[in-house]
């Protein structure tokens, strides 16, 4: 089973060309917030993967913080809908 899987992985890797991988890597590189700060020529796969991992981890942390905050807000305010309507009227 594992040999079949590794063999299929090899054939799949040989079918995907280097250009396609480069294209995917560059597209991912554009999404990362690093590119806006410094024009990095580090289009190496390892660097992009590293940045991607750290960026996804930070996004996860942000979502966790936001969900904790939301849970607190939902617990505290019983009349959540009333407060929302109030803010809508204030706008």
């Amino acid at each position: 089973m594992s040999s079949r899987r590794s063999r299929s992985r090899q054939t799949a890797a040989s079918m995907i060309t280097d250009d396609q991988i480069n294209d995917l890597v560059s597209r991912l590189h554009q999404l990362l917030p690093e590119i806006r700060n410094r024009c990095s020529d580090k289009v190496s796969a390892a660097g992009v993967l590293q940045e991607t991992c750290s960026y996804i981890r930070s996004l996860h942390r942000e979502v966790d913080d936001l969900s904790d905050r939301l849970s607190e807000l939902l617990d505290n305010t019983d009349s959540t809908l009333a407060s929302i309507i109030r803010s809508q009227l204030m706008q």
Binding site: L31, A45, R86
Partner: protein
């Protein structure tokens, strides 16, 4: 696709429930997506990727997501009446509901969205068994497993062991991509990052709104805040 057919009924139930609530908006979104796809159809792969990336940034997608998020959050608020009101557990429930809504908004086109939905369902059905085994298989608990798997394929430069190692790490972060080859993981990560950014933006706007905060301070704040308010005005709460 095989895994989705095994647990197809509950998944389709969830999807049908979501579909019933936002039928009209979905038709508009499909029209917009087809028009976007027609414009940049250079190659098949790039058009598929563009169709996946561009809709996440559109406002229609954010509307859909925020409306479903509100529904899910209301259910989260109502159901755990007996559970202890400890903040970490509620936070985890909110996070899981947000992930589930995100996956539903992706409409199962991507691997990570299908993985999130099937993971949540298996957790629901086999909750007691998981407690006995002691393994926690959640989308957020991947950082606990720290086994470096290095597979050495020295055929091409992209198959360096360093790259493979980082691919494994990234595959653990993105749900459902643990043992996928590099191009699949890259593609899934691209879509996942766009989806996560939208999730962060929507949840931040919702949190600002709920805290009665400065939704009128920045331009983008009013945009997302007004969107959420539109969603609220259109539907009635289930029990209040």
């Amino acid at each position: 696709m095989a895994s989705s057919t095994l647990i197809s009924d509950p998944v389709t139930n969830i999807m049908e429930r979501a579909r019933d609530s936002s039928k009209r908006r979905k038709k508009k979104k499909i029209q917009r997506q087809s028009s976007d796809g027609g414009r940049d159809q250079t190659t098949q792969n790039s058009s598929n990727n563009n169709n996946q990336i561009i809709p996440w940034k559109s406002e229609v997608q954010q509307q859909v997501y925020s409306s479903k998020l509100l529904q899910a959050l209301r259910n989260v608020r109502i159901s755990p009446g007996t559970s202890p009101p400890s903040v970490p557990r509620r936070g985890r429930a909110v996070r899981e509901a947000a992930d589930r809504v995100l996956a539903v908004t992706a409409k199962g086109r991507t691997r990570w969205s299908r993985a999130i939905l099937t993971n949540k369902l298996t957790l629901k059905f086999m909750k007691s068994k998981r407690r006995q085994r002691g393994t926690a298989v959640t989308a957020t608990g991947n950082s606990r497993l720290k086994k470096p798997r290095v597979s050495i394929l020295k055929l091409k430069t992209k198959n360096l062991p360093a790259v493979q190692r980082k691919t494994r790490v990234l595959g653990r972060l993105v749900p459902g991509c643990r043992k996928q080859p590099l191009p699949v993981v890259l593609e899934e990560a691209t879509d996942y990052i766009a989806a996560l950014e939208m999730q962060v933006k929507a949840m931040a706007a919702l949190a600002d709104l709920l805290s009665g905060g400065s939704s009128s301070s920045s331009g983008s704040g009013t945009g997302t805040g007004a969107m959420i308010l539109n969603q609220l005005s259109l539907r009635q709460p289930p029990s209040s």
